[in-house]
């Protein structure tokens, strides 16, 4: 019923070339990993580790987001222009956050 994924034959034209339908098993495995990380972040949020809880929550959320962006959104398979653009958007966000925090912290 399910055809074997075509591992990269005959991709001319477009530069990006993840195999057509990159291994479905991999996609399902990533889903399982994302659920595991969700369970982990709930578990950590109940530990009594003070401000490290927030650090852990943000770190786990960023890890999950990076996995979704890289694999489900296939950014890892895009060419450099996409990656630079993505970094530029994150950098812009970081500057806005950073400058605001500096302002708020030293008011």
């Amino acid at each position: 019923m399910v055809a074997e994924p075509g591992w990269g034959e005959g991709h001319e034209g477009d530069s990006r070339r993840a195999p057509a339908g990159a291994s479905e098993r991999g996609l399902v495995a990533l889903w399982a990993a994302l659920l595991a990380l969700t369970a982990l972040t709930i578990f950590v949020s109940r530990l009594d580790i003070g401000h490290w809880r927030a650090v852990c929550a943000i770190t786990i959320a960023s890890t999950k987001a990076a996995l979704v962006v890289a694999i489900y959104m296939r950014l890892k398979d895009e060419d450099r222009a996409f990656k630079y653009m993505f970094c530029a958007a994150l950098f812009t966000m970081a500057v806005i956050l950073g400058l605001t925090f500096v302002d708020v912290a030293f008011r």
């Binding site: 055809a3 057509a20 339908g21 996609l27 889903w31 993505f86 966000m93």
Partner: protein
């Protein structure tokens, strides 16, 4: 064996540019959240405890699963399995509706307790708690609107694929592979935003 037909690079790039504006839109709200949380740590802590972790966690699982079905829909279409693609698109939209249904139940419970901006019960509370609930409704509300739009876009692209399939179907992928893929990009971004909303609102108590 199906050959891969991807949408033109420019089309994907256009979608990514749009997604960057979405990141900045939600980024602004995350910024407001961060600044007010810093100033009202205790109130945010207390208010967060009033949200239902159960609902938040279930909705997280629903959205993560919908991202899987979305990516499987794209993968199926790339391999020429149009029927399979349509099933996964329907599943994704269904999970989106389930998410919104949960959200409706969750919000209703908050409304029933008077925990919404403008209600005297919430107005009588400390400023930090009012801020928390205002941000909660603003951010999960804006996110919910995105889920709603995502469902509509998924339904529209599924209809295009289905119509192309009905009228012969050999060029479904060339015609609408890109539509489905860009729809997927949007849906995954909406999922990614929830990945951050969940810990910030439900896990800081």
């Amino acid at each position: 064996m199906m050959e891969s037909h991807r949408i033109p690079r420019a089309s994907r790039m256009g979608m990514w540019l749009f997604l960057f504006t979405e990141i900045l839109l939600f980024g602004g709200l995350f910024l407001v959240y961060a600044v007010y949380r810093r100033a009202n740590a205790e109130a945010f802590h207390i208010s967060s405890g009033e949200l239902s972790l159960k609902f938040g966690a279930i909705n997280t699982v629903i959205l993560l699963t919908s991202s899987l079905t979305m990516v499987l829909a794209v993968s199926a279409l790339e391999r020429g399995l149009v029927g399979r693609c349509l099933k996964f698109l329907a599943g994704t939209a269904g999970l989106g509706l389930l998410f919104l249904g949960n959200k409706a139940v969750e919000w209703s419970a908050k409304f029933a307790h008077g925990l919404y901006p403008g209600n005297p019960i919430l107005e009588a509370r400390p400023a930090g708690e009012k801020l928390f609930f205002s941000l909660y409704f603003a951010m999960t509300g804006l996110h919910g609107v995105h889920v709603l739009v995502g469902i509509a876009v998924i339904a529209a692209s599924a209809m295009l694929v289905r119509r192309a399939q009905a009228s012969g179907g050999v060029h479904v992928l060339e015609l609408y592979g890109g539509v489905v893929e860009n729809t997927g990009l949007y849906w995954h971004l909406v999922d990614t935003i929830w990945i951050f909303l969940f810990p910030l609102f439900y896990l800081i108590s």
